[in-house]
């Protein structure tokens, strides 16, 4: 589904990604972790072309993301993305947030889009918030709306860029619950997160990144059982102690 082949990226002279290679199969849940500044958010943003990369190739569902002839908007419409800061559109109501791209990008009718939006809001338990504006919702609620907004496009895969990092602790679980449910339904997911509990529960594979490199790419059992690299072991010991 998602193939990342030998990606390198520079900001000016500073190399942020170095020869990153990995893949996410259909129905697979892959968690990307690592210390801050390790390039994991940058990597996931390369997958739908939000960040350009200078070398290597990313193939999503048979289409090369970096290729000049690729219709990026069309490809992006098929990949859902959830951001650290939710990025709901503050000038639009919750329902409009969910229907805008359905109507403008997929060409659905307003009724169809609204019905779909309502179904997804019910699914994340926020149906009664439909007429409100993002600013009136809590962070956890906003992030659940953001997930529903991405799902409204019927994506073939979902990308999560630190979806719980900006949340107050008591709101993290309501978002993770939605994600766990999604994973159990067989959604293809690539998730940048520090939530190792989530990784243990639903991930198939864990990618560990440090200094722009993929240091470890292992099945969940192997990663948590006995990380092969010292850096990954060190990272795990730091975040699992609490």
């Amino acid at each position: 589904m998602i193939e990342i082949n030998n990606i390198s990226k520079w900001y000016g002279k500073f190399q942020v990604l170095t020869h990153c290679t990995s893949k996410v199969d259909k129905g697979e849940v892959v968690v990307v972790c690592g210390p801050s500044g390790s390039g994991k958010s940058t990597l996931i943003k390369c997958v739908n072309g939000l960040e350009p990369f200078q070398a290597g190739e990313i193939i999503v569902d048979g289409i090369s993301v970096g290729a000049k002839q690729t219709d990026l908007p069309k490809l992006r419409a098929r990949i859902g993305m959830v951001f650290q800061n939710f990025e709901l559109f503050p000038h639009l109501s919750i329902m409009e947030n969910l229907t805008l791209a359905q109507i403008k990008v997929l060409g659905r009718s307003k009724e169809e889009a609204t019905a779909k939006g309502m179904k997804l809001l019910e699914r994340v338990g926020l149906a009664e918030q439909a007429p409100k504006f993002p600013g009136q919702l809590s962070g956890g609620q906003q992030q659940r709306v953001a997930i529903a907004r991405a799902l409204a496009m019927d994506p073939i895969a979902m990308l999560f860029d630190e979806p719980t990092s900006a949340l107050d602790p008591e709101m993290i679980n309501e978002v993770l619950d939605v994600m766990v449910e999604l994973a159990k339904e067989g959604m293809t997911m690539m998730v940048v997160t520090h939530e190792m509990g989530f990784a243990r529960k639903v991930a198939h594979r864990v990618i560990f990144m440090d200094k722009g490199e993929i240091v470890e790419d292992a099945a969940k059992e192997d990663f948590f059982g006995k990380p092969r690299s010292e850096r990954a072991a060190h990272f795990l010991s730091k975040i699992l102690n609490h």
């Binding site: 943003k45 939000l50 908007p73 992006r76 993305m81 709901l88 791209a101 403008k104 990008v105």
Partner: protein, 229 residues
């Protein structure tokens, strides 16, 4: 003109003055709308990743903002027809007319100022908003039109209105092209009836009342927007 003032002249010529005021308001509104539209396009050009386009827009804005408005008005009115004539190789300069020239001048001139306001507005929208719009499959124009510009416009509304109040005052310069705007009408009456003090005092009071009231409204609007945000 003698020492004794006679404000009855204002009453007698009021319909004529109101026609002038209507023209001033109309020119202000059209120039503001046209200027915001053109200025927004300029702002998008200035922020474009296409370097030549960005430089061209920046050059235009800096040029307009470095020349006194009066000079720009004269340029468009007196020199532009001659330039068009020589470029097109016509026998006579095209008849643009003071009226049309005034509209064109103010739209072009104000666009430079509205551009800078909209540029600040666009930059005030977090980059993540564009990212989210793009991630949903919206293209550049869609994300600008549906996501970035509505928010930028809302954030900048008080500044845009303040600039429009300035424009409302600046429009009085067209009276120098012999256009009968509010000031132009007053000048004509003042000269015909030798009532300079009365007419100029009346015009000043009207300008003051309108602009002061509008500025209070803008201040209230500003506070309301601050609460919403």
């Amino acid at each position: 003109m003698t020492g004794d003032l006679d404000f009855e002249i204002v009453g007698h010529t009021l319909p004529y003055l109101i026609t002038g005021l209507q023209y001033t308001v109309q020119l202000t509104l059209i120039a503001a709308l046209g200027g915001i539209l053109f200025g927004t396009l300029l702002a998008m050009a200035r922020l474009s990743s296409m370097k030549p386009l960005a430089m061209l827009a920046a050059g235009y804005v800096n040029l307009m903002r470095s020349i006194p408005l009066l000079l720009v008005i004269f340029w468009f009115y007196f020199l532009l027809p001659v330039i068009i004539q020589s470029v097109m190789g016509w026998e006579r300069p095209p008849q643009i007319g003071a009226d049309r020239s005034a509209y064109i001048t103010f739209i072009m001139f104000e666009a430079a100022y509205f551009c800078e306001i909209m540029r600040a507005g666009i930059q005030s929208i977090a980059k993540g908003q564009v990212g989210a719009a793009n991630a949903l499959g919206l293209n550049y124009w869609q994300s600008m039109r549906l996501i970035v510009l509505p928010q930028a416009f809302r954030n900048m509304l008080p500044v845009l209105l303040t600039q429009t109040i300035i424009l409302f005052q600046d429009v009085s310069l067209v009276s120098l092209l012999n256009v009968t705007d509010f000031v132009g009408a007053a000048v004509k009456v003042a000269q015909r009836d030798s009532r300079v003090v009365e007419m100029y005092a009346f015009v000043a009071v009207v300008y003051f009342v309108i602009c002061y009231c509008l500025s209070i409204l803008v201040k209230q609007l500003q506070q309301r927007i601050a609460i919403i945000r």
